[in-house]
Symmetry: C2
Subunit: 419 residues, 2 copies
């Protein structure tokens, strides 16, 4: 598929992340416009609330784009997802007679504030990267016991905390927590000293289910994808995670990028999961290629200094797809809802420079990174800005995710002082 | 405090679970009345939607009792919680001049269908019973490693799945899942054979918080308590829980009783947590007695047969209070929301007959229970009805929780057949 040309000129540049082929969905506001649904095209945002009110986008029934979340639209189902994408593609195409009506509904992206694109129903985080699981397992349990016995049979996951999901750009406060190092006599309560990122993709569930669903049905129920940074306090995690898993170490914040890149836009970039080391049981077997070829990059910028790229990898290295994760999520009859968010797990490639966490990049702090500024890093320091970026690269066009950014602010002096 | 007498005569019986001292909050409907908020008094429910509309209960601003959840009222804060309780106590007291106006707003409990009393924002399950943790740890890891090293320092918890919370009376479908016994070569996908209950109390968070809060603040933010049965598939759990904790084993369903017994009603029953085996860090220390003296009972009735009491215990045996759990939940800055539900963890007393799960009662299936009917049970069989009951017993009155009931239905023949 070539670049689709739009009458919005900025969308036609070869390096534009938001060409007509993409059409990612977000929620934006400006000083004059309340938070509402919009679609990115070039360096502009089409205001879908006004498009709907004006009848440019025909909708039956209640307004679904007026509110600050895509949930109401997602709930309408796949036919309507396809219908909107087709309509927007037609209206924004070069030569469309929609240009006059729509031009007045475009807002410069530079003037907009982005918000969470969905109301997150519940948030689940997986552990589906083979290299990440092996690296972390090696550090925690030794190379021989690195991969848990169940890992090759089920996409291991745990429930996270939906209330902690924030949009890119939100500052992240270094957490306090209970810590106990291996040589400490007893735990203490202190700010985390091993605060970290996890480079992930987030899959957004757009249709509900009330019992077990197949991998194909799961794939069909995924509305789109975002970049996701699952901020992790490694020292809190090491002390708390046995026997019931990570809890406060993962509850400070999870950042997501503001633009939902739809599954439809990613169709040309589908690719297979890797060959299975042991066969999966029937209910988890692939129903077709369900990973995506998406280049990913992480940069770290110390306060007031330039950013250094610290990792480059690709979503296609994962062992389990989001569709397999969602199918597994439903096996016990667990009801899934519109707006559920599934984190892929940390995406680490096989190379040392392709690791999606500082824990792996600095090998638990034993091999600190040297940044372009000359600073070294084992874990995040106060004032550091961490940025994830992602893009699927087609022939003459790019399906960009934009960025997922967070700056880490110092821990509170006294966490029990209000205000 | 003695029994408070009401003009609703049934509320004055010595064994009535819902005297004027209690006033628990629920959501009910009848064939004629949509789901709405109500308060139990004797064998009647006072319709708070109509009471509010009629001006009997003065409310400023928007109607908060008309919808099918207590969240809107909880969000108004503690002063309003106290105000409503005071007003209801006055109106329903023997000799009140509210009798005429209110009599028309009473609905026989027998005619009502009960619903979930809250919209569950997120659900967290803890592991705060010393005996339960020791029993389960002994079975899984041996007596010497029974209690994890962190257990005496933090109330261990994990995030559960809010979408799986159902109201008492909802049938529970035996789940399928991936299973692998210690002697199996490889896992298989099959219905759970070790399906179990967990006897717990649920604490309902009634006020939001956005950073770490103290144990006292946490106690203040708890609106009330319910009975909670955290249905658990032990065979799924054993295979999946390392390293990130329980996931699908706990996602089939969690049942709660329909009546929220308020923290205010439980005030006379406060009691201390047990003496600490090691001192807690300052931020988790008790701020006063925050457990409650609540008798708890579990019965099991095979299909078509009488129920047998299989466990009797008390909430006062827990090591951590809900206030300590909620305070711990916020340490990393995790935002808490109105409607968050916290499971206490399984409540097992020191005696063999005081254990709150079949896993413990049958010691992993090695010591099956014999029921009054002559049937034996290691785990739940299809058609079994499990009932939790709870009550705080005062001098001449009872603060009853009612019951939390669920009947287990056979697993689906083929979980991937729709409809």
């Amino acid at each position: 598929m070539p670049l689709l040309k739009s009458w919005v000129e900025s969308a036609n540049a070869a390096d534009c992340p938001f060409p007509l082929n993409n059409l990612p969905y977000g929620v934006f506001s400006t000083p004059d416009l309340s938070a509402r649904c919009g679609v990115a095209i070039g360096d502009m945002i089409l205001d879908l609330k006004r498009a709907e009110a004006d009848g440019v986008i025909a909708q039956s029934g209640a307004a679904v784009f007026a509110g600050p979340a895509w949930n109401a639209f997602m709930a309408l189902g796949r036919d309507r997802w396809a219908g909107l994408r087709n309509r927007l593609t037609a209206l924004l195409s070069d030569g469309s007679d929609g240009q006059t009506a729509l031009s007045a509904l475009l807002v410069p992206m530079a003037d907009a504030t982005m918000h969470l694109p969905i109301q997150v129903a519940e948030y689940t985080d997986f552990y589906a990267g083979r290299n990440h699981a092996f690296n972390v397992g090696t550090m925690f349990r030794g190379a021989e016991n690195a991969l848990p016995p169940n890992w090759l049979h089920i996409p291991i996951g745990y429930n996270g905390r939906a209330s902690s999901v924030v949009v890119s750009g939100t500052d992240i406060r270094r957490p306090w927590g209970q810590l106990k190092g291996p040589n400490d006599d007893r735990p203490r309560f202190a700010p985390s000293q091993r605060f970290d990122i996890e480079l992930e993709m987030g899959a957004i569930v757009g249709q509900p289910s009330s019992g077990p669903i197949t991998v194909q049905e799961a794939d069909d129920n995924i509305f789109g994808y975002v970049l996701l940074n699952d901020w992790s306090a490694r020292d809190i995690q090491a002390w708390e995670y046995q026997p019931l898993g990570p809890f406060q170490s993962k509850a400070t914040a999870t950042s997501i990028s503001p633009w939902i890149v739809t599954a439809a836009a990613l169709e040309p970039f589908r690719c297979d999961t890797p060959e299975r080391e042991v066969p999966l049981l029937a209910h988890l077997q692939d129903a077709g290629p369900a990973l995506f070829d998406i280049d990913l990059r992480v940069t770290l910028a110390p306060e007031g200094k330039a950013a250094t790229t610290i990792a480059e990898t690709n979503y296609n290295v994962m062992y389990y797809s989001a569709a397999q994760q969602l199918a597994h999520h439903t096996t016990s009859g667990c009801p899934m809802r519109v707006g559920d968010l599934l984190g892929s797990g940390t995406i680490s490639g096989p190379d040392k420079t392709a690791r999606g966490s500082l824990l792996e990049l600095s090998w638990g702090g034993k091999e600190p990174l040297t940044l372009d500024s000359g600073d070294t890093r084992s874990f995040i320091e106060d004032g550091d800005t961490l940025t994830l970026a992602g893009a699927a690269r087609g022939d003459g066009f790019t399906i960009g995710f934009g960025t997922c950014v967070g700056t880490v602010r110092p821990a509170l002096d006294d966490p029990y002082t209000r205000g």
